[in-house]
């Protein structure tokens, strides 16, 4: 009979789940890579599961549930969209001023038309979606992740399940709809503020004509800019709401996890938003149609 058994390893029990039989083998490099790959794949499945379940719940029956979800969506829009108007106004105004300053430094004789073209390329196509998404991520992304994390800690999500209330529908869907609508609406508002600020400051500082600025904007804009604008807004809004909800709901039971998950959510949202924005820009303006500068 062999006596080579590891004396530190307890004997295996015949019972189904003997903790003494729990034995984590030391993994080599390949094993560690494998475990990491499995962990990443599992996280990705869970992440997409959060979005999929929420979107699928759009078609769920129940007029009472629909009324409740609508009410929560409105309150989320109030916080995510309406209450962010002041901050978006200030940043839009400052971005417009910065654009005029930088353009006048590079091209001292810059006219309204040049400013209009730069406004379209820099602000309307890139900064408007990205800055708006960053503002919403900073304000609402952290708030959503923290709120849902605390709901997990205080067993509120378990309570919803016990009451037969679907968390993907009641918790995730309203926040997702609110971030999408808010980001698109705030992008439009941000663009208007930036254009008005640029036109006013350029007129006062450089003496540029607002009519020339309008002509420059008209020449630089492409027909599908509107489609891309909406696609960027909807995509970025989805990333903010989706990732924030996912990280909030991934809190297990400890209050110390809440700020960690909220911070992780914002980091992932920022990374996701920049990657999505860059991807769409590269795809459309390189491959589909080059703007006529």
């Amino acid at each position: 009979m062999s006596t080579s058994q590891d004396p530190l390893r307890p004997p295996r029990s015949t019972l189904p789940y003997d903790p003494r039989a729990e034995y984590r083998r030391k993994l080599g490099v390949l094993g560690s890579l494998g475990r990491s790959a499995i962990g990443t794949a599992r996280s990705a499945v869970e992440l997409f599961g959060t979005l999929g379940l929420a979107v699928a719940s759009l078609g769920s029956p129940g007029a009472g549930a629909r009324r409740l979800v609508r009410a929560i969506t409105f309150s989320q829009i109030l916080f995510t969209g309406v209450q962010a108007v002041g901050l978006v106004s200030a940043i839009g105004l400052l971005i417009g001023a910065t654009l005029v300053i930088q353009t006048s430094l590079i091209v001292p004789a810059a006219d309204g038309e040049l400013l209009g073209k730069i406004l379209v390329a820099v602000v309307l196509r890139e900064l408007s979606p990205l800055v708006t998404a960053i503002i919403v991520a900073g304000r609402s992304g952290t708030a959503i992740a923290t709120e849902l994390g605390n709901m997990k800690v205080h067993q509120e999500v378990l309570a919803l399940i016990a009451l037969g209330v679907d968390p993907p529908r009641f918790v995730v869907l309203p926040r997702l709809i609110a971030t999408v609508l808010s980001v698109v609406a705030l992008m439009v508002y941000f663009s208007v503020v930036s254009v008005v600020a640029t036109a006013t400051i350029a007129n006062v500082v450089l003496g540029a004509s607002p009519l020339d600025l309008r002509a420059g904007i008209s020449r630089a804009l492409l027909p599908f800019d509107l489609v891309l604008f909406v696609a960027k807004g909807a995509g970025l809004g989805t990333i903010v709401g989706w990732v924030a909800c996912h990280y909030g709901l991934s809190v297990k039971s400890s209050p110390t996890e809440v700020p960690q998950k909220a911070s992780a959510a914002v980091v992932r949202i920022l990374l996701g938003c920049v990657a999505y924005d860059t991807g769409l820009t590269a795809l459309f303006y390189w491959l589909v149609a080059r703007p006529p500068y």
């Binding site: 409740l68 309570a159 009451l163």
Partner: protein, 241 residues
């Protein structure tokens, strides 16, 4: 004719990370029966209740409520199948951004069309239940954070009863209650125990409550649900580690 058990667990186990909290739990509870689970603090009584109620999935094994497998992502499916669960959590569970009244009306509003209730009937039922559990009218519109622990427990109980549950899960239902409220809750639980439409599952360490319910408790120890024919000694030395 064989009747379907109301609650059925088949070799259900659950673990948190590497820690097995429930091991190979099997039970079959007919409708209207009462199960009382007791055991030391931290032994896994709450987890057993969560698994039984389908709030968290068992790591292995199967759970069925009235023959239906619960899905924590779509709990409303169970309600559509006639499974109405009430759950009183040991540490809260009330929605913190909703008033006491809002907490009780929530499940009724969510399933309003299924239960055939209009807004007036929902409000009336919630007020009646809160009144029955001696929650003062002044507290109806207060947020849970502004209520005492005992009142929160009573609101939680009212919410659990709001859907006329056929399964009622109670995790330490008499904790934080004063003597008068305890009597009120015990009377209510006695009434529910005798109701053939309600399957009662109670986790408690209170000998007073166990005595009032008059049901032999089953002990949870080392993850095993002990009971008739199953003790730690019959499970072998590994179960006692």
């Amino acid at each position: 004719m064989t009747t379907l058990p109301a609650l059925e667990l088949e070799h259900a186990s659950h673990r948190y990370g590497d820690l097995w909290v429930l091991r190979d739990v099997s039970l079959s509870l007919p409708a209207g029966e009462t199960l009382v689970v007791t055991g030391e603090n931290g032994v896994g009584k709450s987890t057993l209740l969560y698994v039984c109620a389908g709030l968290i999935p068992a790591t292995s094994g199967r759970v069925r409520l009235l023959g239906h497998v619960p899905n924590p992502n779509r709990p409303s499916e169970l309600v559509h199948h006639g499974v109405r669960r009430g759950f009183v959590f040991s540490g809260g569970g009330l929605l913190s951004n909703t008033s006491a009244l809002g907490n009780v009306t929530l499940p009724l509003r969510y399933h309003a069309d299924l239960f055939g209730l209009d807004e007036a009937a929902i409000e009336a039922r919630a007020r009646e239940l809160l009144g029955e559990l001696r929650v003062s009218q002044a507290d109806f519109h207060a947020l849970p954070a502004h209520l005492s622990a005992g009142v929160r427990r009573r609101v939680s109980l009212a919410r659990a009863l709001a859907v006329s549950p056929n399964f009622l899960f109670l995790d330490d239902p008499d904790a934080d209650l004063d003597a008068a409220t305890k009597r009120l809750v015990y009377d209510l639980l006695e009434r529910l125990r005798n109701d053939p439409g309600v399957t009662l599952i109670v986790a408690t360490t209170s000998s007073e409550l166990i005595e009032r319910l008059g049901v032999p408790p089953r002990e949870l120890a080392h993850g095993y649900l002990l009971g008739p024919g199953r003790s730690l000694s019959t499970l072998g030395p590994a179960a006692q580690c």
